[in-house]
Every structure is written in structure tokens, then in C-alpha cells.
């Protein structure tokens, strides 16, 4: 595969709130190559959306990037001023935001909004922009009759299609899709995911970061998956490795909590406990209070990242003794 589009090195994004410091993202590093699709999985509050907002440079008020570097095509975007950053947004990075059902201006027709996005980012004439708008709206599967409609006249799935069109229309190098399928029913969800997958095949040099709390939605699209917990990376591997050979106890727990279409599983297992208090994180490994395998060392020292081979990274103390431990259960 081609060159590296996004390179994040030891990113730390904290929210400074009156009660303390929320370490929403605490030392995350990863790379994305051209055309790659990366999934970030985590529970609510694990900092996965914050990663997205950090990359696009639109952290909301108390949030701040305290450490780390973000390179987009060899350009450290944390060193850019706000105007240069705005130039990059839309053209190089774009985002499909979380509450995407409300991401269209209810007072404007959708084709106008998409045309505006083109005109804001590119220096082309209006007639060309209109043509491109029609083109992309057709590509995302909207009927020509609905181009000139207001958002409230469209169904949720159609709105989502329009938003995807808006995010892709300037052919960005990197697309951050922050839970793009929330609030959609299962069938529409599947259609939207399929559409995104097809569109990404069309944009060969573009990469996508897919942020979700639902492992099952992204396994088909993503090449690699990052499992996040408590602001930290727990496991990184290719999708097939995560599914077939999860090494981190948390990943194992996550996988057990999904129904499997072929196995006749009687009941689903959940992970005991609740996500950590982000102001007051556990001293050792963040997952240790909920981990069924945890030993003394887990509560005392933060775990280190281990490469078990083939770029499969796991952050766990017990990675060496995993076979013994996991067999016991």
C-alpha cells in the first residue's frame, strides 16, 4: 500500500474541567496508509470521538491537546494556525459527525448546502459546482426529485446519504466517520455502510477512520481496528486477527457480548463493572478493576505495549502468560 496519510504520535487530549482533568485521550499512536480503513472501537466515554475532533482541530472548549503530534501527509497540523487549519478541513480531512441526523441546516435545500461546501473549499464556478453536486447526490443513491428538498422532507437514511455526499464531495484524503449510523434502523444502517464501503472503493487514495461503539458494524469495512478503553489503546490489529484471535481481555469481553450468527450461543456475556471515572483513573492498567484475569501487578503499574508479531499490538501485563490464563477459564 501507498504512503502514510495520517500519523499520530503519542496524542494526549485532556479536558480541563473544574473537578479535575479528564484524560480523554492518553497517549494514542497510530498510522493510516492511503486507502486504508481504520476502525476505532470503544465504549461511551472512552475518548474515541475526542480522537476524531483532535485530528480535525475542533475540540470543544475545555479540551486541549497537551502532547503529541499529528501529521497529515508529512505536515504537522498542530503547528498550523486556525486559518491554515480551516483550509485543510473539507479539502484534506472531512468529518461525518456523530449526530448526523441534525447535521444539515433545516432552512436550506440539500443541493444548495452541498454546492456551498464545494464553493467554500474549491475555486470553481457555480455551474461546475452544481454539476458536481448532482453527480455526488446520484452517487450516494438519492433520487433527482429529492435534490431540491429541505432536510425535514427526507427520511433519516436519505439525510445520512446527503451528509455523506457533503463529506465526500471535495475528495478529502481522510474521512473521519464518527458513529455515522447512530439513530438509523438496522436495514438502513446496512445500506449506509455498504454505500460508504462502495464510495471508499471509488476514492482509491482516500482513507477513512470509522469511529463506533459497535464492533459488528465496522468489521466489514475496516482493515485494521483499534480497541480503546479509558482513553488508552488496548489492542491494535487487523480486523481478522481481532475477530479470530483477540488477545486483550477487554477485546475478548467485547466479542463475547455480541451474538454470533453461526454459533448456537445460549446467553451473551457482558463485561462486569462500568467504564472508569475519567477524572480519577485507576492507578495501574485502566481496565484492571473490571478484568477477570487481573493480578497484583495490574493494579500497580500501567501496562506497556507489546507487539506479539505481525503488527499486532496489545497493552496488557499478562500477555506473556496468556495461553495458560485463558485456557483456565
Amino acid at each position: 500500500m501507498g504512503k502514510i496519510i495520517l500519523d499520530i504520535k503519542n496524542l494526549k487530549t485532556y479536558y480541563f474541567i473544574p473537578g479535575g482533568i479528564v484524560k480523554a485521550v492518553d497517549g494514542i499512536s497510530f498510522k493510516i496508509k492511503e486507502g486504508e480503513a481504520l476502525g476505532i472501537i470503544g465504549e461511551s466515554g472512552s475518548g474515541k470521538s475526542t480522537v476524531g475532533w483532535s485530528i480535525i482541530g475542533l475540540l470543544s472548549h475545555p479540551g486541549k491537546i497537551v502532547e503529541g503530534e499529528i501529521f497529515i501527509e508529512d505536515q504537522n497540523i498542530l503547528k498550523l494556525d486556525s486559518e491554515e487549519m480551516r483550509e485543510i478541513r473539507g479539502k484534506k480531512i472531512s468529518m461525518i459527525t456523530q449526530s448526523s441526523m441534525n447535521s444539515l441546516n433545516p432552512l436550506m435545500k440539500i443541493d444548495y448546502q452541498i454546492m456551498e461546501t464545494i464553493l467554500v473549499n474549491e475555486n470553481i464556478s457555480k455551474s461546475v459546482a452544481i454539476k458536481r453536486t448532482e453527480n455526488i447526490l446520484e452517487n450516494v443513491g438519492l433520487e433527482p426529485s429529492s435534490f431540491k428538498k429541505y432536510p425535514h422532507e427526507l427520511s433519516g437514511g436519505m439525510k445520512q446519504r446527503a451528509i455523506i455526499a457533503m463529506a465526500l464531495v471535495c475528495r478529502p484524503k481522510l474521512i473521519i466517520a464518527d458513529e455515522p449510523t447512530t439513530a438509523l434502523d438496522v436495514i438502513v444502517k446496512a445500506q449506509i455502510l455498504k454505500l460508504l464501503d462502495d464510495l471508499m472503493d471509488g476514492l482509491e487514495s482516500s482513507s477513512i477512520i470509522f469511529i463506533s461503539h459497535d464492533l459488528s458494524t465496522i468489521v466489514e469495512i475496516c482493515d485494521n481496528i483499534i480497541i480503546m478503553y479509558g482513553g488508552k489503546m488496548m489492542e491494535f490489529a487487523t480486523t481478522s486477527k481481532i475477530i479470530k484471535n483477540p488477545l486483550h481481555p477487554y477485546t475478548k469481553g467485547l466479542l463475547k457480548s455480541y451474538p454470533h450468527i453461526e454459533k448456537e450461543e445460549i446467553s451473551l456475556e457482558s463485561i462486569p463493572g462500568s467504564p472508569p471515572n475519567m477524572v480519577n483513573l485507576p492507578k495501574g492498567c485502566v481496565f484492571s478493576p473490571r478484568c477477570i484475569y487481573s493480578k497484583n501487578i495490574c493494579f500497580k503499574e500501567p501496562a506497556k505495549m507489546t507487539d506479539v508479531g505481525d503488527n499486532h499490538l496489545v497493552v496488557c501485563h499478562l500477555i506473556q502468560e496468556r495461553e495458560v490464563l485463558y485456557d483456565k477459564r
Binding site: 475542533l58 468529518m95 459527525t97 441534525n102 433545516p106 432552512l107 429541505y150 425535514h152 457533503m166 471535495c170
Partner: protein
């Protein structure tokens, strides 16, 4: 456009009975004023023509009688509509043009800019409007534009506050966040996306302000700070005519006063009705 009108009519039908009748009354009064405006052409008296018939009481020849210089009062009233409406409209328009964008910018960027503008406009609010208008019109002299400017200053904070409040709530909405994420300039977000939200509120407020602006125009005229004579103007005529009430000439001041009251009532009723019909929500949105 047609959808907006359709939605408006729908809301008008739903609007409470009282506000509906208020709105209709306002419209009728306004139409009557407009009718007078054009009726003047049929009536055929020159409002500036000085004749020998001083203080002729209202009769069939001079519907509202004549004033101290023998000028036809009805004709002057009809021409007075022009000055009052024009000045009131220009004044509200100026305050709208200045107040709304500053409100949107201040709300959008918040922080220091917001602090500074808020303090300025709060201070402006603390001043009684008519005193401010007198002060400014004394400073820059009488005339159509200058009077408009003097009056407009009073209304700027109102537009500022309404638009700022709206912007503060709007900028947290996901679609503004999405616009930012797709590289929109703040200029584009403010002028294309936020300000159109404020239009219904601005229209309702504008109608209400038109009424009080007419009062302010007349007030300035009454004090001799409005349009320079002999331009027909309700307030000026009211002020001049007041002197002759004691000698039994009531028509020189009554009719200008009546016209002022009528137009203020018209605009206030329309404004209140619009406020009810447009509500806090914006035409064309089901959110």
C-alpha cells in the same frame, strides 16, 4: 418562497383568535394610512400653499380645516405620512443592519468581542431613547437621514440582543459543527446559516419598532428637532398647532395627534400579531 407563504398562512389559521383579529385590525389601519397617502393625489390641495383662509374649521372644502398659515391640514397629514414612514423605516433598517450582524458575530465568537459589544449596547440601553435621539439630532442637525440615524441608535441594542441570543443557541447545533468540520469560514456560517434563522424574529421586531420609531419622529418634530419646516410632518404640526387650542382652534393639533396614534396602533398590532404567528419557532422548520 411560496412554501414560506403557505406555512405562514397555516400558522395564521392556527394563531389564537385575539392575535388574529389584532393582526387584521393592524393591517386594515395600515391600509387606511396607505389609502390616505394616495388619496392626496385626488384631493388636490398643495400642503405648502399659503392662503388667506386662516383657521378655517373642518368642513366639506377643507376636510380637516386649515392651520395658522391657511394651509390645508388634510393635505399636510397625507404628505406627513411620507416623512413619518420614511424616517421610521430608514431608522429601523439602519438599526437592523447594524445590530443583527454585530449580534451574530458577538454571539458566535463570544469571549472578549462579546464582552465589549454587550457592555456597549447595555450602556446604550440604559439611556432613555428619546434623550439619545435629541442629543444626536442636535449634534448632527435636522434632516431626513440625520433624524433617521438619531432614532436608529435607540433600536440597535434590541436587534443585537435578539440575534446574539439566537446565535448562542444555534452555534451549539450539530449542523454548525458539521459546517466547521467541512471547512466553512466563520463569515459564511454567520451570514448564510445563522442570520437566516433570525429573519422571522427580526421582522416581528421591526414592525414593533416601526411604531415606536414613528412616535420618536413625531417627538423630535414636536420639539422642533425633526424635519425642517415647511416640510409636512405630523409631530411638527402637532407642536405648532398646540399653541392655538386656547383660542378654540382644536383641529390644528387634534388631527396630527390622531394620525400618529393611528399609525402607531397599526404597526404595534401588526408586530404583536406577527410575533404570535411566527412565534419563537421559525417558518418552515419541523425540528
Amino acid at each position: 418562497m411560496s412554501e414560506i407563504i403557505k406555512e405562514f398562512l397555516k400558522r395564521f389559521k392556527i394563531a389564537k383568535k385575539s392575535s388574529k383579529s389584532m393582526f387584521i385590525t393592524g393591517i386594515l389601519l395600515f391600509l387606511f394610512i396607505l389609502f390616505l397617502y394616495f388619496f392626496n393625489y385626488l384631493y388636490g390641495y398643495d400642503p405648502l400653499e399659503i392662503t388667506n383662509e386662516l383657521f378655517s374649521p373642518p368642513d366639506l372644502i377643507h376636510i380637516m380645516g386649515t392651520d395658522q398659515l391657511g394651509r390645508d391640514i388634510f393635505s399636510r397629514m397625507c404628505y406627513g405620512i411620507r416623512s413619518s414612514l420614511t424616517i421610521a423605516f430608514i431608522a429601523t433598517f439602519i438599526s437592523l443592519i447594524i445590530g443583527s450582524p454585530i449580534g451574530a458575530i458577538s454571539g458566535y465568537f463570544s469571549g472578549k468581542i462579546d464582552r465589549v459589544f454587550s457592555i456597549i449596547f447595555d450602556a446604550l440601553c440604559a439611556f432613555p431613547g428619546i434623550i439619545l435621539a435629541i442629543l444626536i439630532s442636535v449634534m448632527i442637525g435636522p434632516g431626513l437621514i440625520t433624524t433617521s440615524i438619531a432614532i436608529s441608535v435607540e433600536y440597535i441594542p434590541q436587534y443585537f440582543r435578539i440575534v446574539r441570543g439566537l446565535t448562542l443557541s444555534l452555534k451549539e447545533r450539530p449542523f454548525i459543527e458539521a459546517l466547521k468540520a467541512l471547512g466553512s469560514r466563520p463569515k459564511n456560517i454567520i451570514f448564510n446559516h445563522i442570520l437566516i434563522y433570525a429573519i422571522p424574529s427580526i421582522i416581528a421586531l421591526m414592525m414593533l419598532n416601526m411604531g415606536s420609531a414613528i412616535l420618536a419622529v413625531s417627538g423630535l418634530g414636536f420639539l422642533g428637532l425633526g424635519l425642517p419646516p415647511p416640510i409636512p410632518e405630523w409631530g411638527t404640526d402637532l407642536g405648532r398647532g398646540r399653541d392655538f387650542i386656547t383660542i378654540g382652534v382644536w383641529w390644528t393639533s387634534t388631527f396630527p395627534g390622531l394620525m400618529i396614534v393611528m399609525s402607531i396602533v397599526a404597526f404595534t398590532l401588526i408586530g404583536e400579531g406577527l410575533k404570535e404567528i411566527l412565534g419563537n419557532k421559525i417558518i418552515g422548520i419541523k425540528d
